[in-house]
Symmetry: C2
Subunit: 303 residues, 2 copies
């Protein structure tokens, strides 16, 4: 299946508990997703940036030959979305230091004609109305997964519920699933969300892995255990990128296919957090992914 | 290997978020551990109770034919350890409402002569000096695992470190591992603990599963995903009971043996939390364990 991702390309400032700080680095949900997905095959990127978007970041994206950036729209007179965040001691909690919406406060990006036949769609976190608008322009979409966040559950709950009726799956954080469903058990929360339409919900738990609540059953995976956590930014988006790209590549949309795809997402995310921005993913070799996937698979083999 | 457990047999009062409360129910680390271990084979129990220990609780223990309670010492004029706890909304946090130490404030229980040849030893949570004292009376011990808690890390750190030099493995909670090691990553924390002597550390994360940090590698397992959580009391002790009993039964003390044993612990714990006290374990059938283990194993099979 042709894979497409819509979302943000941003300029980030990140502070980690070790006191390290990086200013003006390449970030954004689309960026991380596409860099991860590109390890498995082609991925189409749809996002808008302002004319302040540095050439250096364009060059970084160009290092990923599988990313088709024909959908990266540069708007004259507009500003690129900027985000600043600071991680707490445990690396699983973070504080947003600032957000400058820029292009996010304008019309959604255009989807190029050449992307119109996309079948496998990831709608990265955005207002559910924007997600539905983008989806409506992809008539061939047949495996659609959306991400969301607490903000939309609070201020756009009805629209989010409407979106759930249009997607195959939803990806969201643990606390967000419980917030949407109003219950304190992730399985119960996921099952409640299925009532609103999707075939499955993937509940992300950061360092504690992820849970799959699917119409045909449940699954759970730990995170890949590691000492190396430099910057967790993008872990969730690269998890989704590895997962969706594996599904797009294999075409296996069964619960088992999604489960294995989640394991690939887990592995890609474990590389992402080893350095800032796309630094680790840029040089990543398919052997490294295969080796770590094999280690993970052996670690979980109980038969 | 002959399996023995030392620890507490208690009378508990438990409040759950649903508003349910049970007063005076059978609890204690030894009780839960032994009830879980008994699903796999014989287990020897060493603990002290007062003469207030009800016959009804003795009858419950007697329902587990694999539990050898020759080491359950009843002290005239003493009081059984009593604990009261209240679970918060998420079932993973709890507040201790009261503790009445009773026999725990007296000399450790005696180990019967008939238990002296025990090889596989679980020292459930207790002051590390008590754990070392009990271990010193088991000359055939060759696979020894201890549990501990934040209290001993705070007030008996040196003794706990000494204990680490005498055990094969340690089982403790996530926050406790980080507290002992003074670092915020469970893998780093576990590796630091290995420097004090044990071959492995099992870090329990409640609803998020467990991590194995072993001299020969790492592993991680999720918890069994379930909607049915009535009372989490005893989950950690039954996890340890399933794990140790599986090792005692198979004799496989390799990292892979421990990993599979942890999966059995995970499954037994998932039954424990389905009801109060030993209610679910009392009627548990080996088929039920095998079925759930197979489901768990399939859920994690990535090959």
């Amino acid at each position: 299946m042709n894979l497409i991702v819509t979302g943000t390309v941003s300029i980030d400032t990140v502070q980690t508990p070790s006191g390290e700080e990086r200013e003006g680095i390449l970030g954004g949900s689309c960026t991380y997703f596409a860099a991860a997905a590109s390890q498995y095959g082609p991925v189409r990127l749809v996002a808008a940036v302002g004319d302040d978007f540095p050439d250096e970041h364009r060059d970084t994206l160009a290092k990923f030959p599988n990313i088709d950036a024909a959908g990266l729209e540069t708007r004259a007179g507009s500003k690129t979305f900027r985000w600043g965040g600071k991680y707490m001691d445990n690396m699983d909690e973070r504080e947003t230091l600032f957000t400058e919406l820029g292009v996010l406060d304008e019309a959604p990006p255009e989807i190029p004609e050449s992307f119109a036949d996309s079948e496998c769609v990831f709608l990265a976190n955005s207002h559910p109305m924007v997600q539905m608008d983008l989806l409506s322009k992809l008539p061939k979409a047949r495996f659609v997964v959306a991400d969301t966040m607490d903000l939309w559950i609070s201020i756009a709950r009805d629209e989010l519920k409407q979106l759930l009726g249009k997607v195959t799956g939803l990806v969201l954080n643990y606390e967000e699933a419980e917030m949407y469903a109003g219950v304190r058990n992730p399985v119960t929360a996921g099952l409640k969300m299925l009532e609103d339409g999707p075939e499955f919900v993937v509940i992300k738990k950061g360092e504690h892995g992820a849970i799959l609540v699917h119409r045909e059953g449940l699954a759970a995976l730990p995170a890949y255990p590691t000492e190396t956590v430099v910057d967790p930014t993008g872990a969730g988006d690269t998890f989704a990128g590895g997962m969706m790209a594996h599904i797009a590549k294999t075409g296996d949309t069964s619960i088992h296919g999604i489960r294995r795809a989640m394991a690939h997402g887990t592995i890609i995310a474990s590389f992402t957090i080893e350095s800032f921005s796309l630094d680790r993913l840029a040089g990543l070799k398919s052997d490294e992914i295969a080796d770590r996937y094999a280690t993970f698979s052996n670690m979980l083999a109980l038969g």
